[in-house]
Symmetry: C2
Amino acid sequence: MKLKSFDHMNCSLAQTLDVIGERWTLLILRDAFFGTKRFEQFQKNLDIARNILTARLNRLVDEGILAKRPIDGGRFEYVLTDKGLDLQPVLLAMTHWGDKYKPNAKGKRLVFVERATGKPIAPMAVHATDGRVLKPRDIKAKPGPGLRS
Amino acid sequence: MKLKSFDHMNCSLAQTLDVIGERWTLLILRDAFFGTKRFEQFQKNLDIARNILTARLNRLVDEGILAKRPIDGGRFEYVLTDKGLDLQPVLLAMTHWGDKYKPNAKGKRLVFVERATGKPIAPMAVHATDGRVLKPRDIKAKPGPGLRS
DNA sequence: GACAACAAGTTGCATGATGCAACTACTCGA
DNA sequence: TCGAGTAGTTGCATCATGCAACTTGTTGTC
């Protein structure tokens, strides 16, 4: 029986999951952020099944998250688009949660820093528009115009 | 054949995905943030298969993300723990990406506001420690002490 | 032109995940 | 005792995942 799609849900989270929720997708995107571009390199770094990698890359290209560019010799490279780059907060939020709750005994596995200053970035958090960090109990959800349909 | 686990990967993103990457998990957590607590309510709101809901709730309880509390009449409620609340940046980052790239023609489906002021929260973004918003090209990953193993 | 290596898939199949509908067991109120 | 509500459990069908082998195209060397 078919997987139940989330596509019908009028929910931005569900819409996002429909695109990036398949197994391996976020790990492929992680590697794309690290600079991986070639099919074979993704396959080796991740130790992923070739048919699954093909399917995921095609889906990401179809969704405009990666661009598939031909290079010499009938080869291709897969490069993040702006739409793909905008997933960075998602990846970093998950990474920071994993750092805190699934830590390595020796410390952080990766430190993300600002190129210009070398200083670590701030932990991913929810902010007020004036920059203050907000806690979950400080936040509430209100229906927007897009909720009525 | 067995799914390939991500648990062996020395990567915080992979560790997080191993916990919350299964189908429906983030949607269950979304509803928990909205105040859903009871099995039957999750089941109806999400239209999820009962066996899958059971399995996901049990996993979330095992991971300490939800707490299962008995209430009167042999019933239970499932409540977010601090560990679960700390997933809010993940959910909001995905929601904001969905708002931008999978928009509803009528506008945002939900608006998240600060309780005290009623003002919308800032879009989820990566920040420097001084509060400046950083772009992906401003950020780089460096190996941390936990990467050697 | 033949061959080998590399790259990027594709194919057929086995196994586990998902989802359905029906079912079970417990609690409570009438 | 019965019915409704709650929280699962069960058996099964279908699809997702993953494996290993395979195909096709390109390039460089001989």
